[in-house]
């Protein structure tokens, strides 16, 4: 991402804002989907995050952190959608019902990732699919660094065992 575009967007340039949003829209959608596991809510989360980030662009101090900053906003929007939609319902029960085959490229590892618990799948996804560092993930998900590390290790181990079990 071009820092110059982010700087212009911070100063209120709407074309520059459109450019940077278009650059991150695909990865943002995937992160939202990983969190919410359905298309409609993921698109809502993206839309709300764009409006929110536009409003607060001026408050972004370091242009190089734009992507992390936007991702944090996106995750917060996802949390709001879950809170609004499901209340106190046990999400782990609902998760299996929300998965539809047609949203994945095929029945590869990604569907096993999406069956992990909320934090575990987000950590795996942000780390291996999106390339965030563990410190950045700790910041985005507002989890202690050590928790991120232990959850990452545990879920990788679990995934690997499942893959071996299914004979892949």
């Amino acid at each position: 991402m071009n820092d110059q575009d982010v700087r212009k967007a911070i100063q209120g340039n709407k074309d520059a804002f459109s450019t940077i949003i278009n650059e991150i829209k695909e990865k943002s959608y995937r992160i939202a989907f990983c969190y919410l596991k359905n298309e409609h809510d993921s698109l809502d989360a993206i839309s709300n995050s764009i409006l929110f980030s536009f409003k607060y662009m001026r408050k972004l101090k370091n242009p190089e952190y734009f992507t992390t900053w936007f991702t944090r906003i996106l995750i917060n929007e996802c949390k709001k959608i879950i809170k609004k939609g499901h209340g106190d319902v046990d999400l782990s029960i609902m998760e299996n019902n929300l998965i539809h085959e047609d949203h994945y490229s095929d029945t590869d590892l990604i569907d096993k990732v999406l069956l992990l618990s909320e934090h575990e799948r987000m950590i795996i996804y942000l780390k291996y699919y999106q390339g965030y560092t563990l410190e950045e993930i700790s910041d985005i998900l507002e989890l202690p660094l050590n928790t991120v590390k232990s959850k990452l290790y545990r879920s990788l181990k679990q995934l690997k065992e499942e893959v071996e079990k299914s004979g892949r």
């Binding site: 695909e26 989907f33 990983c34 409006l51 408050k59 590892l109 893959v163």
Partner: protein, 447 residues
């Protein structure tokens, strides 16, 4: 850690990804279009506010204007400002035409605060608010209301709708003072502060204490019913004193009295049902009670109301599981560099502190510890203390904790800020609680 993993596994993991939605570009473009429109709208926000005030005043004073406005698409939304969510009590009150004391406009040189859909009963005040800046096109502001004089609890919720922030404020009674305030005074005094939404710690304008008058004849009185039922447990007694029906909430007055050895620190679920309908619970699914001394009366509020129902044949109260803690030995002092494992006996069980570590990064201190315990522990507070003086330097309730049922261990992680750097951190953990199986139910009729 991935060094231990098979390389092929990681390559496989990264190879496939979530398929993109066909509607992604359309959604993004629509959102970007809205950001472009917004700039134009904000320039006229002050005049819009002025028109809105006239409009709302007309709505309230003129039945024909209200009827006219309801027929215009878009304007109808302004009339229905309530964000009811799961608030069945407020919904019931609105359906039954509870009196709306709004709109009210409060201003100073720079800001206009619009209070609308103001509903009052003897246990609760609820309203929405919007803030307009008279001098700029920014609308990033929110009003904070304080009624501390009446010892009330308050909750706030903010929604962002079509480029505007609307706050919902809910203030509800802790006890009798609030009830007296509503009926004896006939007005309320509210301290109003304006804050910027992006910088919630800073007050940008203080509008001071403002008086809001209301007609007492339009506040509906609550209906009280005596229960006086005692629930005996081996950890103490729970007495249900009263059931109070108000237009927007139901209240149960309950007294907890502990025995010599234990605290009842909370109830997993305290459910209330009317005429065999589904149980409802106090705000929040688990009702937690203060730490410490225990012979107290609590007012539990439920977001449901049967105030307007003439015939209720049966009311049922159920308790599912209690949280308890022992009075003695519930504070443990621990150091980060001591020899482990370390064994502590608490409530007849051995708790083993297996490992403790600390980790400093950015401005944070993270303390992690692993505890072996036969039963799950709940709610642990951690305080970092100064080794020599025992003075508390900072603390937190546990941020994330997990319990393995097969291996019987907990992993707790606390993140603290502004703790001075030290070679060895000395801290105390306190107030572990156990959940006990307990089921109790009581039905009664109200006349």
């Amino acid at each position: 850690m991935e060094d231990n993993m098979n390389d092929n596994f990681l390559i496989e993991l990264k190879r496939n990804d979530i398929k993109l939605s066909e509607n992604l570009s359309k959604t993004v473009n629509n959102a970007l279009l809205k950001t472009r429109r917004k700039g134009r709208v904000y320039k006229y926000i002050v005049s819009v506010a002025a028109i809105l005030i006239i409009y709302i005043t007309l709505l309230n004073t003129s039945a024909s204007f209200r009827a006219f406005a309801e027929g215009i698409p878009g304007l109808k939304e302004t009339i229905k400002w309530f964000v009811l969510k799961d608030d069945k009590g407020l919904e019931s009150a609105v359906t039954n035409d509870i009196y709306d004391f709004g709109p009210i406009m409060i201003e100073n040189d720079e800001f206009i605060v619009m209070i609308d859909h103001l509903t009052i009963d003897q246990v609760r005040i609820h309203f929405s608010s919007r803030v307009f800046n008279k001098n700029t096109d920014e609308n990033d502001y929110e009003a904070f209301f304080t009624l501390s004089e009446y010892g009330a609890n308050s909750t706030r919720d903010r929604s962002f709708q079509e480029g505007e922030y609307i706050s919902e404020c809910d203030i509800y009674a802790k006890g009798e003072d609030f009830r007296d305030m509503v009926f004896e005074k006939g007005y309320m005094e509210v301290n109003i502060a304006i804050k910027n939404i992006g910088r919630p710690n800073m007050i940008v304008a203080d509008l001071g204490v403002r008086r809001i008058d209301f007609d007492m004849n339009k506040v509906l009185p609550s209906k009280e019913f005596d229960i006086n039922e005692v629930c005996e447990t081996e950890y103490g007694t729970i007495t249900f004193n009263k059931l109070i029906l108000s237009p927007t909430k139901t209240e149960v007055v309950v007294t907890f009295k502990d025995n010599d050895d234990y605290f009842i620190t909370g109830i997993q679920k305290l459910g209330l049902s009317f005429d065999n309908e589904e149980h409802v619970y106090p705000n929040g699914s688990t009702y937690l009670i203060d730490n410490g001394e225990f012979n107290k009366t609590y007012h539990l509020f439920f977001n449901v109301s049967k105030y307007y129902y003439a015939n209720i044949s049966e009311v049922k109260i159920v308790i599912e599981d209690l949280f308890i803690a022992a009075k003695d030995g519930r504070i443990f002092e621990i150091k980060t560099k001591e020899h482990r494992p370390e064994t502590i006996t608490y409530m007849g069980e051995q708790i083993i502190i297996e490992s403790v570590s600390s980790n400093s990064y950015l401005d944070k201190l993270e303390i992690n510890y692993k505890i072996l315990a036969e039963s799950p522990l709940h709610s642990i507070n951690l305080n970092i203390i100064e080794k020599k003086t025992g003075e508390t330097l900072g603390g937190s309730a546990y941020v994330s904790g997990s319990y393995s049922e097969t291996e019987l261990y907990h992993e707790f992680s606390h993140v603290l800020k502004s703790i001075p750097k030290m070679d060895v951190y000395c801290f105390k953990i306190e107030y572990p609680r156990y959940k006990t199986d307990f089921d109790w139910e009581y039905s009664f009729k109200i006349k």
